[in-house]
């Protein structure tokens, strides 16, 4: 890989006096065009992301309660957030989700990608599409759909279990809601992660497999000892995506709450807590603080994970 960069360093002599000025002007002119093309995006990025973020951060430094007015409190809201049992409990919930849900998604995605990578029939293309399709369904629609599938009245579970003379589990009951949510998320996201992993697998030079076969490696050994290590940077990326998504878990439980208000309280995850604080209980300041506190947690977790996997991800 290093060889491709070699030619540029082979003409160091002509650069200093002759060409230096012109590329610079050229470069600056090009840069101007660049800024122009970036402008629409930058404008939207500023107005809809950076400015609201700054505004929300400013809000999080104030407090305004229902009965009293607005006053500056500095970091008080953050201290309150990190000692708020409801917020911490929500963090505990998403941590639990992260522990169960991420491995589940990874396993499904990795196995599917490895199997598809080995097949070269029309069935593999078809399966690839089928596994990916749930990702193409908007999250809200997917969650609504599952709400009906889980419903004891409209869902297929009671008839399926009925064949074997069993009672269907109550998917929306307090004890089962966790698994039901894990199932929705895995169904929706495994296909997307599968595509990322699959793309990485296709990027591996097939010559390596030939060499491995010559050395007497079995299919399983090729998969586990060669393919998996060679796509480790993609796996790290997938875990980071999943980690960030899981810590910010919101849409699925929020939608499912429509049919299971008892089992999913308003403060089930930190994001749901922030949402209900702001829009149901009009505590916009504290909600901003909760959101930033969650942002800090997400950042710290992602950072720790990236640090621990710096070798696999190639960041080192």
């Amino acid at each position: 890989m290093a060889t491709t960069t070699a030619p540029t360093s082979s003409h160091p002599a002509e650069a200093p006096n002759q060409v230096k000025h012109r590329p610079d002007r050229n470069y600056r002119r090009k840069q101007r065009w660049g800024w122009l093309f970036v402008a629409p995006f930058a404008l939207i990025f500023l107005t809809f992301l950076i400015l609201p973020l700054v505004f929300a951060f400013r809000m999080s430094l104030f407090t305004s309660t229902l009965a009293t007015g607005n006053k500056f409190v500095g970091a008080d809201n953050y201290i309150k957030a990190f000692s708020d049992p409801i917020f911490l409990q929500g963090l505990g919930t998403v941590a639990k989700f992260a522990l169960i849900m991420i491995p589940a998604q990874m396993l499904v995605a990795l196995v599917a990608a490895l199997v598809l990578d080995n097949l070269a029939t029309w069935a593999s293309k078809f399966s690839r599409l089928m596994i990916f399709i749930p990702y193409a369904i908007p999250v809200v629609i997917g969650a609504l759909m599952w709400g009906f599938l889980y419903s004891p009245r409209f869902g297929p579970a009671s008839s399926i279990f009925g064949i074997f003379g069993l009672a269907a589990p109550e998917f929306l009951a307090q004890d089962n809601i966790f698994g039901s949510l894990v199932n929705i998320v895995t169904w929706q996201w495994a296909g997307y992660y599968m595509i990322i992993i699959y793309a990485a697998l296709r990027g591996i030079d097939p010559g390596i497999y030939e060499a491995a076969v010559l050395d007497g490696a079995s299919d399983r050994q090729i998969a586990l000892r060669i393919k998996v290590p060679m796509i480790s940077s993609s796996l790290v990326m997938v875990v980071i995506f999943a980690l960030i998504g899981t810590l910010q878990f919101f849409t699925e439980p929020q939608v499912l709450r429509g049919v299971a208000q008892g089992a999913i309280p308003t403060s089930y995850t930190p994001n749901m807590y922030a949402f209900s604080l702001a829009f149901s209980y009009s505590q916009f300041n504290y909600a901003s603080a909760i959101s930033f506190a969650l942002g800090i947690v997400v950042f710290v977790f992602s950072f720790i994970f990236l640090f621990l996997t710096r070798k696999q991800s190639g960041l080192k």
Binding site: L66, Q261, F284
Partner: protein
């Protein structure tokens, strides 16, 4: 080169403007009205100033058209911004941002003080609200005012009654219960008859429904007066509430009632397919029932008064019911107040609401009219349900006081009731825990507890 550069810059700028959606307000015929002017209805008189209204009443478009045709000097620009909480969320956000609220808004009476405490609503007494006081049912007026201030004009009410399946009752040999004791006996008899139906549902997310049942046994959960907004009395675990909740906990434990979440697709189906023999309903319930699909075609629905704790001293309660309030963001508050009082404050408008929208009017001239009392409902086999049930219930209702954080209080109530039906705690403990959490919340929010 230069020209090309400028041309490109122009295109980019135009794109940016288009993408950020600064299309500017092209308000149609705005004379002092609001600039967004994306009305759902058509404006009849384009010269007149417009008042924006958010509301979700059924068949409201006809009421708006009627109003706009009848008024030359003001026009309603109506938007349906969602039902209940959906609308409140938007309203709440626009209060926080200081713009975007309509001039007149439909609010249920239970959330009024949640918005008055944020100075979002206009006291209508200075615009002549007290002049029309006599036109409205007393309990409804009480719910819309706080102390001397009047924050909204009542539109419809929700006096409660009992809708029941005569066919299921007959099959199980059950008489219509008039007390809660008889209701429990009927529930047992129904279960033993083996028809598969339970007598009813006790939804843990019933919110105002649960609260209304408590109120029937004399529970007064909150004491609050917006003239003294920093002080609140909380007593959600009083004797009345405990008595009622223990009763329902018993029914739940014995499997005599279901505990399905209300207002889900499952619940809607079970209401009409014979899973429940009784629907404890407000006066808007019959309209709600008729709008549901998958109904059992052989169902025979009838209405009866809500069972009582003490048949000798009946207590009437209310579930829901809504009002029109004027927001602080209204540009012309006097005009907005006129609209709030005028939409349903005349017989033509209210009759449309009653006939097309199945509203139970708070407007006395319609409420007290013989036509309304004698109205026969085909869905109930020609029964005059207003005369038989709801008019008495409305007349007996004395009003209730809600907290300025009612949404929070209801969410907490749901959590506690759910814990109770899951068997984690008994009724008394659930209400005591609710009391603690609400007291703590009120203190955090800077209230002084009475």
């Amino acid at each position: 080169m230069k020209a090309k550069f400028l041309a490109t810059a122009g295109i980019v700028a135009a794109t940016a403007v288009a993408l950020t959606g600064c299309s500017g307000g092209s308000g149609s015929g705005g004379g002092g009205g609001s600039e967004e002017a994306s009305c759902t209805n058509t404006i009849v008189n384009a010269e007149a100033p417009q008042v924006t209204v958010w509301a979700w009443y059924p068949a409201f478009n006809e009421v708006v058209d009627q109003f706009n045709n009848a008024n030359d000097d003001v026009q309603i620009c109506w938007t349906n911004a969602g039902q209940g909480n959906d609308e409140y969320t938007k309203f709440s956000t626009s209060i926080e941002s200081g713009s975007g609220a309509p001039d007149v808004i439909q609010l249920e009476s239970e959330v009024l003080s949640s918005f008055t405490i944020r100075d979002a609503l206009v006291d209508l007494t200075e615009f002549g609200a007290n002049d029309v006081k006599a036109d409205y049912a007393e309990g409804a007026w009480e719910d819309a005012s706080s102390g001397d201030a009047v924050y909204a004009i009542p539109v419809d009410g929700g006096p409660m009654g009992m809708l029941y399946r005569q066919d299921l009752f007959d099959a199980a040999g059950i008489q219509v219960p008039t007390t809660w004791e008889e209701f429990e006996a009927a529930a047992r008899k129904l279960k033993e008859s083996g028809g598969g139906a339970v007598i009813g549902d006790f939804p843990t997310n019933g919110r105002a429904f649960n609260q209304a049942l408590f109120a029937q046994a004399g529970s007064v959960p909150f004491e609050y007066d917006s003239a003294n907004p920093q002080e609140i009395g909380i007593k959600v675990n009083d004797e009345g509430a405990k008595q009622v909740l223990e009763y329902w906990d018993g029914l739940v434990k014995d499997g005599l009632v279901a505990t399905d979440d209300a207002f889900t697709a499952d619940y809607n189906t079970k209401l009409v397919d014979g899973s429940y023999a009784v629907y404890l309903a407000a006066a808007w319930g019959p309209g709600y029932l008729q709008g549901l699909s998958d109904a059992d075609p052989t169902a025979v629905w009838r209405a009866a008064p809500l069972p009582q704790w003490d048949a000798a001293n009946p207590v009437q309660v209310n579930w829901g019911g809504s009002t029109f309030a004027v927001t602080e963001q209204a540009k012309d508050k006097e005009l907005a107040a006129k609209v709030a009082m005028g939409i349903f404050g005349n017989e033509e408008g209210m009759n449309l609401g009653v006939d097309k929208g199945a509203l139970f009017p708070s407007y006395a001239p319609v409420l007290d009219s013989p036509e309304f009392a004698d109205k026969e409902y085909e869905f109930f086999g020609g029964q005059q349900i207003n005369k038989d049930v709801f008019l008495d219930a409305a007349a007996g209702y004395e009003g209730a006081t809600f907290s300025p954080f009612q949404n929070y209080a209801y969410d907490q109530l749901t959590e506690q009731l759910y814990a109770m039906v899951q068997g984690e705690k008994d009724a008394g403990k659930a209400l005591d825990d609710l009391q603690v959490s609400l007291e703590q919340y009120a203190t955090e929010q800077g209230f002084t507890l009475k």
